[in-house]
Structures are given as C-alpha cells and as structure tokens.
C-alpha cells in the first residue's frame, strides 16, 4: 500500500461484520480524505448503522481493519466522534452539560467543558437553552444540540447516522442550509448516513452506495459542483441527472 493511501483521514479495509452468525456487511472498503463530506446511502436495513458501529469501534469486525490517519483503531472506541441515529440527549443533564459530555469523558473539568460548549451556542442556534433540559426543546433544537456535542467531541473525523431524518421537511431545509455554512467553518471530515437521495446529492462531495444482502459497497460517485451549494442546486438539470443515476444504481441491486 502506498503512503498516500494510508494518510487518508479514515479508511476501512475489507470490513466484514456479522451478528449472530448472519453476515450483515461484507468486504467493505471505503476511504475518507481530510475535509471531505461523504455520504453513505442505502435503503433501510442495508447495514449502514452496522458499518458505523464498526467504524466507530463499538463493534469488532469479523474481518478487515479500520484505520484513522493510518493508525489501526479496529474495535477501539473513543477516537471517532459518532452521532447515533437518535439524538440521545441524556434527560437528566441540562443542554450545556449534554453538549460538553464528550469533553468531560475525556477528563476535562466540567465547568471548563461547559464554558467551551456555551461558546458555540449562538452559532448552533441554541441561545436561550442554557438552563433547559432536553425535554424542553423542540426536535430541531435537540438535533442541533446533538450535532454540537458530536462536533465538540471530535478529534477530526465525525460519523453522523441519519442526522436529519427525524425532522420535518421545512426544518430539514433550514438545517441543510445552516449545516452547509457550518461545515466550511468547522473543517471536519464527515461521513454521514442517509436514505434521502436529494439530501445526499445536495450535501456531499462523494456518495457511497451500500446495497445487497449482505451489504456491499456497490458504487461510489463524486458530485462535481463544489460545496457549499445553495438550495437552488436541487432544481437544476445536473442534480436530476445525479438522481437518475443513483436511482438506477439502487434498483439494479434490488
């Protein structure tokens, strides 16, 4: 393997994961370059979450390796910031304490961690939630709090499992717009899951398609226009061409 390849921000090599003897995903090889925003697209049940659990180190694969900046982190959690499918804000912690949790886990003093978290509240549209518990927030707010927690805990690479799927269409549009602006400033390397094709094309540099039983990477494609793209992009012909291509790829796999 060349040195250039091993310098990828995140790389999976031939990852296979089975649950109870049933192979869910097989021989997955993907890579993520620094600063990239890459999407993992697939129907529900394809094994997207299983792949994320494996990449994050929560699950140990039956075969293959996971490399972070060339370092083997297979089965070792705590290196990659992972936002799970539900927002999972802890109901007993106020929003700043929820957001600061990854820093506290890493050994920072709670007060300093909270201050650091509060510094981003305006940017993430969380003003006025300093003294609130998660139950007091709307779905969109909770999602933003969970995103901030993920970004704050990140050491470069973040995994987002269906970060916007719980939101209604209008909230989603608003968050997409905000998110694209945010991505540029934070300079993170992101792999995110969606089953929403429009979202995938609108937001990402590249798209991996996971399909089949067991799930394999059936295609990878690059979306040409550079980010950030405005929402108008989703109305142009180029966008539709991508969409057609992806639909046919998904159908071909069955």
């Amino acid at each position: 393997m060349s040195g250039e390849e091993s310098a990828s921000a995140l790389r999976a090599e031939g990852v296979t994961k089975a649950y109870d003897g049933r192979v869910i995903i097989q021989d997955i090889s993907i890579h993520l370059e620094t600063g990239e925003l890459v999407c993992l697209l697939g129907v529900s049940g394809a094994g997207k979450t299983t792949l994320f659990h494996t990449l994050s180190g929560l699950e140990r694969p039956e075969a293959g390796r996971v490399l972070l900046q060339g370092e083997d982190i297979t089965g070792r959690p705590g290196k990659i910031s992972y936002m799970l499918q539900r927002d999972l804000l802890l109901p007993h912690k106020k929003i700043p304490d929820n957001v600061a949790l990854p820093l506290v886990i890493r050994g920072e003093k709670p007060r300093a961690a909270r201050e650091k978290a509060l510094g981003y509240f305006a940017q993430f549209g969380l003003e006025g939630t300093q003294d609130k518990y998660p139950a007091q927030l709307s779905g969109g707010m909770r999602q933003r709090a969970a995103l901030l927690r993920t970004f704050l805990g990140s050491q470069g690479v973040v995994l987002l499992d269906e970060p916007f799927s719980a939101l209604d269409a209008l909230t989603k549009r608003e968050i997409h717009r905000w998110y694209m602006g945010m991505m540029d400033q934070l300079q993170l390397t992101t792999l995110f899951i969606t089953h929403d094709i429009d979202e995938a094309i609108l937001l990402s540099d590249r798209i991996y398609i996971l399909s089949g039983q067991p799930g394999r990477i059936s295609a990878g494609l690059t979306i040409q226009p550079p980010r950030p793209r405005d929402l108008e992009f989703s109305l142009c012909g180029e966008f539709l061409a991508y969409k057609k291509q992806i639909l046919s790829l998904l159908e071909r796999q069955g």
Partner: protein
C-alpha cells in the same frame, strides 16, 4: 400544557374518606357497636389532643430507630445492588437469596433479634434495616437494567469507562426507581420500628401501643394508629419533595407526555 391536579381528580378519594367516616359515625354514635369497643370520632379526636405531647415524645424514639435503620438499609441496598449490577455472577448468586429473605415475616424475626440483641435500640434498627433495604435494592437493580442501550453505546463511543457510564448514565437513570423504592421503604421503616417495639423496649410508639392495649383504652389505640398513619404519610410526602429536588428534569418530562 401543565394541568394542575383539578378538583375532579381529588373528589373520589375525598368521597371514599367521607364514606368511611360516616360508617364509623353511624356504628359508634348509632350504638351498633358498644362504645367501649369502638370510640366515636370525637372521642378519638379528644384522645389525640390530650395525648399529643406523649405521642410526640414516643415518636421521637421510634423515628430515630426508623431513620437509623432506613439509613443503613439505603446504604446496604446501594452497595449491594450496584455490586450485583456490575458483577453478573454476584447477581445470580444473591438474587434468589434476596427474595427468600423477604418471605420471612417481620413478626417472625423480630423476637429472634430481641433474643440476640436485647431490649435496646439495636434489634429495632436491625429490623428496620432488614425490611427497608429490599424494596430499594430491587428498585435500583431494575433501574440499572432499564438503561438505554443506545445511550450506553454513545458513551462508549466517546471512550467512556464503565465507571463513567455508571456515573453519567446508569445511576441517574436508576434514580427515579430508587425514589419509588424509597417511598415504599419509609412506610416500612415506621411500621417495622413500631412492631419491634411491641416485643420490648422502654419508649416509642410501639411501647405506647402495648401499654394502651393492656389498659383497653380504645380511644387512645385509635389515636396512636391515626398518628402513625399521619407520620407515614408525612414521610412519604417528604420523599416526593426530595425526589423533586433531586430530579428537577422529571417535571418537564411529564409536561411532554401530557401534551
């Protein structure tokens, strides 16, 4: 919207209470039951007033035993339940034993404890500890087990240690279960202390009860029973208050559910 507990929800229990009082009135004042066996509400009220200072003095002793026993019960339950939760083998070994010890009736072990420890405070505190620790331990175990697995995954993905998962997730999750157990346990604590005092002692509500029973003073019997009920209710209300203070977030979760 938060709905204040309206009059309609308080009406049924109030009606039931009124009905019981009415039956009591008719039975005693109406002469259905001889007066010396069933004193009227007025007589009991009078006894309650005249005996109040004595009741308070005795309650101080009983409550001291109950508090000490409950404190020990809580401490043992916390340690044991947490260890059992952490060490699977310990759970399998201890859980059946725990259940079996709870089927032994309080009144059966109380005399044994007196024989072993004498008439002082020790057997009373021990009995209270024995009866209160079980509901708390079982509630805590249930609470630990109810932890959201996905939330535990989230913490693990942050690199959290087992201790950090316990401190940030499992313990706070179990807290509401702990308070439910505690609510049951405080009433057990008072009753346990009273029962153990029946078997010997120098002061306390149980000793007082034995004394008035031997004198066939039914009005004072009723007065002390009412007094014990009031004390238990008060303590349960105290637990509810403590729960609100310790878990302020619960208030908002209820609002969400009512919407």
């Amino acid at each position: 919207m938060k709905r204040s507990p309206s009059i309609t929800s308080k009406l049924p229990p109030l009606l039931a209470l009124a009905a019981v009082l009415a039956v009591w009135l008719i039975a005693s004042e109406g002469g259905l039951v001889p007066e010396f066996m069933l004193p009227s509400p007025a007589q009991v009220g009078a006894a309650l007033v005249s005996e109040f200072p004595t009741l308070l003095d005795n309650a101080a002793v009983t409550l001291q035993e109950a508090a000490l026993g409950l404190g020990i019960g809580i401490a043992v339950a916390l340690v044991l339940a947490t260890l059992m939760h952490r060490v699977r083998a310990l759970y399998r070994a201890c859980y059946p034993l725990l259940v079996v010890t709870q089927t032994i009736p309080t009144v059966a072990i109380a005399p044994l404890l007196v024989l072993w420890m004498g008439f002082g405070m020790a057997p009373k505190v021990t009995l209270v500890a024995l009866t209160t620790f079980f509901p708390i331990a079982v509630s805590l175990l249930e609470g630990y087990a109810s932890t959201d697995k996905a939330a535990a995954d989230l913490l693990r993905s942050m690199g959290a240690s087992r201790w950090q998962i316990f401190r940030h997730l499992e313990f706070p999750t179990a807290l509401s279960y702990f308070f439910s157990g505690l609510r049951v346990s405080v009433s057990y604590a008072v009753v346990g202390a009273v029962i153990s005092e029946w078997l010997g002692g120098f002061e306390g509500l149980g000793v007082y009860m034995t004394r008035v029973r031997k004198a066939y003073a039914f009005d004072r019997m009723f007065a002390v029973i009412l007094f014990i009920v009031a004390v238990s209710l008060l303590l349960m209300a105290l637990v509810t208050l403590l729960r609100r203070l310790a878990m302020p977030w619960e208030a908002y979760e209820k609002i969400e559910r009512n919407d």
